[in-house]
């Protein structure tokens, strides 16, 4: 094996085993070896076919969008126009700020709850899990419908003022982000021994607030970050709730743009795809090694 550079490169256990068994001279060219390798498990051709169809399905709409965005003259004018539109930046900023507030509130809500349930009242666990699943059961349309009907007049006239509507929007997004946040926080807490941490902190005289902020939160960093990025991506792309609450958010802006302009919407579509992509890469980066994320989108 020492005089075989391929064998050194190849760390696959099966190959090492094969090399030890006396066998017919192996074909010299690497491509043939690659083919052999693929066929070792069953059904490689169909696997490739399915994979290629899948990739085409993924990629063609993106190419088409890109092609449309390139039709504008001069080149990249669609992007320049889209970005220089003041409403693009203002709506994106608005959605981003709303997203950040949502994430902060949602963390402030979820972490103490999950902590308390794990430590003190495990009996409530099924109830809390049920509640955090509710946003899956209640579609955004229904949620915003209920919110508007509940808060459009006295005694709680939220929808009458700008700030009230935004507060309502944040509130709705917090609800929307509950499942993702709770799941990532809960699985994060599973991996750290919160009981021992709490007892250690208490024995050194820490209060509950200190424990939560200085012990639990830092230990949940990875879980919180992945939940936060996912929530942020969802909130930035969200349309339904923002539109019916008449908020100047990114989703409604894009919808309006799509109805009125020719090439700019394509550019903004790709930009928004890029934002989603960045969020996912961020999740993959912070969450390396932990496999607890099931991502079910919310901005349908």
């Amino acid at each position: 094996m020492t005089d075989d550079p391929e064998g050194v490169e190849d760390l696959d256990v099966l190959d090492v085993l094969h090399d030890e068994i006396p066998q017919a001279p192996r074909p010299a060219t690497t491509p043939a070896r690659g083919g052999d390798r693929r066929r070792r498990r069953f059904g490689a051709p169909w696997a490739w076919m399915v994979f290629i169809i899948g990739v085409l399905y993924f990629v063609i709409p993106l190419i088409a969008t890109f092609q449309v965005s390139m039709k504008a003259r001069p080149l990249f004018a669609a992007y320049a126009n889209a970005i220089s539109d003041p409403r693009f930046l203002s709506s994106l900023t608005y959605s981003f700020v709303v997203g950040v507030i949502t994430v902060v509130l949602s963390i402030a809500l979820i972490v103490p709850t999950a902590y308390w349930v794990r430590l003190r009242t495990p009996a409530f666990r099924p109830l809390v899990e049920f509640v955090t699943l509710l946003p899956f059961v209640i579609p955004p349309v229904v949620l915003v419908f209920g919110l508007i009907k509940t808060y459009k007049g006295p005694p709680l006239p939220f929808t009458n003022s700008e700030i009230g509507s935004t507060a309502l929007l944040v509130f709705a997004y917090v609800v929307l982000s509950l499942p993702y946040m709770y799941r990532s926080v809960d699985s994060g807490m599973r991996t750290i021994d919160i009981r021992s941490l709490t007892e250690a902190a208490q024995s050194m005289g820490a209060g509950w607030f200190t424990i939560l902020v200085r012990i639990i939160l830092p230990n949940l960093r990875v879980a919180l970050l992945s939940g936060a990025f996912l929530s942020l991506a969802i909130v930035i792309g969200e349309f339904t709730i923002a539109a019916y609450l008449v908020r100047p958010a990114f989703g409604p802006y894009l919808s309006l743009l799509g109805a009125n302009k020719a090439y700019e919407p394509a550019a903004v579509t790709l930009i928004s795809f890029g934002i989603t992509w960045l969020a996912m890469i961020a999740i993959a980066l912070v969450g390396r090694g932990s496999r607890s994320k099931i991502t079910i989108g919310g901005a349908r």
Binding site: V141, V144, S272, M280, A284, G297, R300
Partner: protein
């Protein structure tokens, strides 16, 4: 409980249907008007089709990268891409497909050059079939994400054991692997069903109301475009909640069954 407030909020919103003045079932009777029935039928039909097609294809795709002996990097990039695609929905997705498959869309034009006119029949991207094609874009990546851990959980020992007993590849799949995966498969498809049943923004942007769907109908009730009947809106909302709740309940049951074999 910290969750009390949003919970109360949800209850206010969704249970307020009985408060239209007196206690009445009229709103629920109004559900049987033809347009509402059509909306529910369309929604359920689209959700079922995209759940089954997306489920099967997503399963095949996950099998392909996990069991097909493909390079590891393809698998990792597919998982990341699935994460992106399953969250890439709403307005941008609808726009992207409009650029792809509308009468002047890229794919339409290319296919036409190849002699295939997809608009020869009565196909449009703004129809039911169009919605289904678009929804599949986020449905099957979601399936890949959900089903991949289950396929990973198929132990090689099971396959070796069945091969030792003389089973062929197809026998292994029919007798061992598929029965183990069935609860997970069904559960995932139910999740996909709910996923597309609650979708609103995509269809809103895509069809501009040409296809009547429940979420769009509720949206109309909010903005008061069509017949303004708040009670009917509540009843439709409750109808959606019941259907979604039912699917999540079935999902939970199936999930429990699935955990018997996996992990």
């Amino acid at each position: 409980m910290f969750l009390g407030a949003p919970l109360a909020l949800l209850f206010f919103g969704s249970l307020a249907d009985n408060k239209t003045g007196d206690l009445t079932l009229d709103n629920y009777r109004a559900l049987s008007t033809p347009s509402v029935v059509a909306a529910f039928r369309n929604s359920i039909e689209i959700s079922l089709i995209t759940a089954v097609v997306g489920g099967v294809f997503g399963f095949l795709l996950a099998c392909a990268v996990i069991l097909g002996g493909m390079p590891r990097i393809l698998r990792d990039s597919l998982m990341t891409f699935s994460g992106v695609a399953s969250n890439f929905a709403g307005i941008p997705l609808a726009l992207a497909f409009t650029y792809t498959l509308s009468t002047t869309g890229l794919l339409t034009v290319i296919l036409k050059d190849l002699g295939i006119d997809i608009y020869a029949g009565d196909f449009t991207i703004f129809s039911k079939l169009g919605i289904e094609i678009v929804y599949l874009y986020f449905q099957f990546p979601l399936m890949v994400l959900i089903i991949a851990p289950a396929i990973d959980g198929l132990k090689p020992e099971w396959r070796e054991a069945s091969e030792n007993m003389g089973a062929s590849g197809s026998q292994y799949w029919r007798r061992v692997a598929l029965p183990i995966l069935t609860p997970t498969l069904l559960g995932s498809m139910i999740l996909l069903f709910g996923n597309s049943f609650g979708a609103q923004a995509t269809a809103y942007q895509l069809t501009a109301g040409q296809v009547q769907l429940v979420p769009l109908a509720i949206g109309n009730q909010i903005s008061g475009d069509v017949l303004h009947n708040v009670g009917l809106g509540y009843a439709m909302a409750m109808g959606m909640v019941v259907i979604m709740g039912g699917s999540i309940a079935i999902y939970t049951v199936l999930q429990r069954r699935a955990e018997r074999w996996l992990r």
